[in-house]
Structure formats: C-alpha cells, structure tokens
Subunit: 154 residues, 2 copies
DNA sequence: TATATAGTGGACTATTATAGTCCCATATAT
DNA sequence: ATATATGGGACTATAATAGTCCACTATATA
C-alpha cells in the first residue's frame, strides 16, 4: 500500500484544522478532540511538528499551537517529511557504504530518481489546497482513530 | 520514510535480475542466492509476483521463473502494486463508509489526487530503465538482506 | 512408470516497527 | 503561588511484516 503511519495521518488532520483557523492558538487537548485521539498521542504528534518548525508553540495557561507560516507555504511533503523523515522508498541512499558496488549501482540512482518524483508530487500540494474553505462547517471523526485524515473538512 | 517493505525490495532485485537474463528460466533457489535470502522467502516473493501475472512459472525439473513480458513493459508501479496492493498513502478511498461526511470530504479527494501522482511517478519507470545493460557484470549482495535492491546491477 | 526436482497454497511463528502511554521538567498567565 | 500547558525522553503494548513450515501438485528424465 505504500502507506504512511497513523501519526502522520493525525498530523495532516491537525494541520488541516489549524489551517482553517489561522492566527488562533489551540491547545493539544482541544486538537486531540478534533482528531478523536488521546491528548498524549496528540502531544506526541504536535511535538514532532513543532520540532520540525511547522508549528509554533506557546507554553503555560492559554498556550497551544499555531502554524508558523501561512497554509499556502506548507506542503504535504513538509508534513510527511516532518513525521517520517526524508522521503525515500528505499534505505539505499540514506545509508551509504552499506551496499557492495554502490558507486556503480544504477538501480540506486533510479530509486533516488523515483523518490524525487514522489517528493515533487507531494511538494506540489499545499496545506491550503487540502483544507476546505473556512466558512464551511467542520466535521468530526467517529471514534476509530484510523481514517481520521478524512474527518476535518467539508 | 514512506518506505516499501523488504519483500518488495527483494522483488525488485529479482525482477531486475530476470530482466537482465531474458528468455531464461531461473529456479527459486538460484534467485534466492542472487538476492542473498532463504529459498523459502524467495519463494514467497515469487509466488506473489506470479499470481500478479508478472512472472511465468514452470513446474518440475528444470522449472523456474521468467518474466511474462519484456522488461520495457513492466513498470515499477506494477511491481509495487503486486507486492503491496493498490498504491495509496491513506486507507480512505479503499474502505468507503468508514468516515463521517465522506462524500463532502475535500481532503479525501486530495489524497486520492496525491496517490495518483505518486502512482504515475512509479508507472513512468520501467524495469528496463532500472536494469543495467546485460553485457555488464552483475554484482552480488553482502549477507545483509536489507539493502538488497541496490545489489544486482552495474 | 518411479523418482527426483521444482512450484502452489495456506497456516503458523518470530521479529520488527509503530502507536500509545507515562513521568518529570520547564515555561507562563493570572 | 498555582494552575495550565508544552518539552523531552523512556517505556510498553500492539500491529504489521518477514520468515518458516507443511502437505500437495506438476513435470522432466532415467
């Protein structure tokens, strides 16, 4: 399936929600409710997004998270990369020296080329593209934490 | 990382090897040696590729596997799909009805669009593109079954 | 036609990766 | 001060994947 992890899925829902409410600060517990997951898990995702520089955090009472830049300038590649590390279908390329005759390996070059193409496909789509117009209602998710990425939108 | 499974990695190495030796029938045990994995595991991969119609099998003595069509007409998307099922980054789309307000969900549509783009990137690259010219030497892999995809080539 | 070779199908187990939770520390508004 | 909220890291549970095993079927050839 070539699928991304659940946490990445949560991340896209959270980012989507924040994109729909620009300039506002939202606490982890609130965002957890939006996605339908525990506060702890939401925190884990938020920390990761924060460290990657996609979210700005504010501590203390009335603290929370907001996007560091407009949704137009955040791509799905940014989010994927923040959650799962550099985009690449194979290990080869990330861990040099692990493979015999690496330098002459045409397969490696081609995998890198493919990964690059995938990256570009993801970079083309911005968070703003994904998000619905803010005027429309926001729909919440059932309890199942699985298919949440489809939840916040209209 | 958005990475594919190990078995898919093995599959690409095997397919690559077979592409370099067109018209020849190779037994599972031989292919296992090429990749550096057990015959059982190789068999598992080969069965999957066979069921997907990418490989033609021949039973009995002197039996084995070969490509069903020229390497130019087998894409990396074909192999990925054979090994991991339909290409898609999210579940949503595959399991309809799982998400509230599914029909109005713009996120879903966009994920499908992204998955489609990824699919196209993979479909563009043929097995022939990946394989080195047959005249050049073939390099074998170390013992580590991890980074094998980079092994067979030149 | 007996036998050795090689693939088929399915089930099972081990391993690994992921997701989820918990704890203690730090920051900040009131 | 204190309640609220994030930061960082470690730990555990769960799920997905990889790997193995078994009984069966097909086929070349001696």
């Amino acid at each position: 399936m070539l699928k991304m992890g659940k946490l990445t899925d949560y991340a896209t829902v959270i980012m989507n929600f924040l994109a729909q409410n620009p300039g506002e600060v939202h606490a982890a517990s609130e965002l957890a409710n939006v996605v339908g997951i525990s506060a702890q898990t939401a925190l884990k995702v938020l920390k990761t997004l924060s460290k990657a520089g996609l979210l700005q955090s504010q501590r203390g009472t009335k603290g929370g998270y907001q996007l560091t830049r407009p949704a137009q300038h955040i791509s799905m590649a940014d989010i994927l990369q923040a959650m799962e590390g550099p985009i690449g279908l194979t290990e080869c390329g990330s861990s040099p020296g692990a493979c015999v005759r690496e330098s002459q390996c045409s397969v490696k070059t081609n995998w890198q080329r493919i990964s690059q193409a995938v990256h570009e496909a993801l970079a083309k789509v911005s968070l703003a593209d994904m998000a619905a117009p803010p005027s429309q209602p926001i729909y919440f998710v059932k309890s199942a934490p699985d298919l949440t990425h489809a939840a916040v939108s209209a």
